[in-house]
Point group: C2
Chain length 361, copies 2
């Protein structure tokens, strides 16, 4: 049967949403039984998880599962849906570390609990309360992601063989996150270092490892599994780097109404991306001086944002990053032309690559 890849993705996305809804409803009841003070925790997590998100990691994982010979299975959908909770942990903690005010157009988690503190006229520092709540909600999301995965109803052998790739994915995520905050604290920028961070934070965590996770869920045949790991890496690693580069561009040029973040947020935050490292490498003394004045200025206005945008475009860094995205995406697409990838898997993975790379958020 030839599938319609767009329809297939929409169908998986809907089932992921429904599994998350059900899991969170059960956890909300559980927390409510411990104490009514925990209701705001459950509500915040519900709103965070259910009101947005592209569900990319579950989609890649499920595509990896199908591509490796897995047949459609509700339990596996629930297992891969748990990756959204892992991603929630990463985003909640990321926003706190970056002191970001918004996420998907709404207050970030620490800001949300800061507001609760103010509205309920609690005592002590609202800011500290918000930060502590965000640390704990991130931790809880990480634990819940495990719980949702472990209780998904997949076969014991599927669970056992997917634990190690799941663990490795999470270690790589945390390592990538640390490399990122460390990069922000260095005196110089470097294209090579930024590309490495992109590889760990996005290449591996967002795309390659979810694909492997799906492959591990799919097959008991360890030889086939190892072979699929390699094939899916050939596709996932370049695509993941392209995904991160798209993110770099959106952080500077993205439309606030679709990104849910203020225009030029990465510039205000002084985020050291591959795009900015390339701009530095190409900027003349005058351009470098303009960047030095504006980049990382938390109060940067739109004129300042526009000034840096112009430099990023004028130096050719923007065009170069676009080219790099094209090249990496082509490499990924080309890797799918092999006998081990059947036509349905080919169609699904290609469509997913499109969603990941041609996105506006």
């Amino acid at each position: 049967m030839i599938i319609d890849p767009q329809k297939a993705l929409a169908d998986i996305r809907m089932r992921v949403q429904s599994d998350l809804t059900e899991f969170l409803a059960a956890q909300t009841r559980y927390l409510g039984e411990i104490g009514s003070e925990l209701i705001p925790v459950a509500e915040a997590m519900n709103s965070y998880l259910l009101d947005g998100g592209k569900r990319l990691r579950p989609l890649f994982a499920y595509a990896g599962y199908l591509a490796s010979g897995g047949s459609d299975d509700d339990a596996v959908v629930q297992a891969v849906a748990s990756l959204e909770l892992l991603q929630a942990c990463a985003l909640i903690h990321d926003d706190l570390m970056d002191a970001s005010d918004t996420r998907r157009g709404k207050p970030s988690m620490h800001r949300h609990f800061e507001s609760i503190h103010r509205n309920d006229e609690l005592s002590g520092s609202a800011e500290n309360y918000g930060q502590s709540a965000a640390i704990l909600l991130g931790d809880l999301a990480l634990v819940w992601s495990d719980q949702m995965f472990h209780s998904s109803g997949i076969t014991p052998s599927a669970l056992l063989r997917s634990l190690s790739v799941h663990d490795e994915m999470r270690v790589e995520l945390m390592a990538g996150q640390f490399l990122d905050i460390h990069e922000q604290a260095l005196a110089t920028q470097s294209v090579a270092r930024s590309l490495k961070i992109a590889r760990y934070k996005s290449g591996k965590y967002t795309i390659e490892r979810p694909l492997h996770f799906g492959a591990a869920l799919a097959t008991e045949d360890s030889h086939l599994r190892e072979s699929m790991f390699g094939i899916l890496s050939d596709f996932g690693l370049p695509l993941g780097e392209a995904f991160q580069l798209r993110d770099d561009l959106l952080g500077v040029f993205g439309d606030p109404s679709t990104t849910g973040k203020p225009a030029g947020d990465d510039l205000r935050e002084g985020k050291r991306t591959v795009l900015m490292a390339m701009t530095h490498d190409r900027a003349d003394a005058h351009q470098e001086a303009v960047i030095a004045t504006h980049f990382g200025d938390a109060d940067l206005d739109l004129a300042g944002v526009e000034a840096i945008r112009t430099i990023i475009a004028d130096t050719g860094a923007q065009a170069h990053v676009e080219e790099l995205i094209e090249k990496l995406t082509m490499t990924a697409m080309d890797s799918l032309n092999r006998e081990e990838i059947d036509s349905n898997a080919h169609a699904l993975l290609s469509e997913l690559a499109n969603v990941a790379i041609r996105r506006s958020i």
Copy 2:
């Protein structure tokens, strides 16, 4: 064979230490291969995990395992040793939320990375760098604890049947932590609420759930397992509350040279404990005024600490908490007098209760 419980605990503690050393050495190599920037992460975690700690949670888990019929097994020791990494996550994040400067007599994790930032003359805010590093190291410790548990070499069926109690333990921990930070933000103190927090943060997380985790690792017989869960709860819940009450007393009266925290640290922090709620309930207007002046003053000197200590003693709250600890401990000890607990298990659990309750740190 009749075991010597002190020797048995010392032996398990030594094996836990050796497993942690080995696991961290492997992870250090792994992180080093990703990038040399991650070496300080590995070093900090090594020093944090290997230089101290009573290993209470692994010991309770292993005692629960032996009490439920498990026979001595190196793989199970590694599985329970992983609880130290979970505890490291809780402590690293706790210290950050409480803005604590020290842990076990050394700088807390966020302060440690703040120092690295200063010493290496990195750019940006040292404080933010320290906070971000502590968030990520806590996350990494949580993920490593999973990885150490999953790769311990226990049988697949032991792993599968212990996942759910392991997950529930972690959800309860995070729920208890949230109740705790929320309690600090309320206008009033309450003995009942503080006891509930003690139950979740310590009763369940520190003692009952590790015991259950051990029982789940021990036996395939689901009937026996359920029965042991109940028996171990009868022991673990009151003992865990007593443990938390001992912690409350040590936070006020503990000797800095053994606690590794400044004298009266909980008073300076304004920590709302069962002990303080009881003091409030018993204080007269004058005593209440003294508390209102000093409690939660970050710059509180020793004279101020001494003033509150005197009130806690004079109101009888200190003596009452000591009595409560005795009573809860007796209840726990009495629960062991049943045929399902053999003499070795009885000796081991009693000795462990002693270690947990009669401690000075």
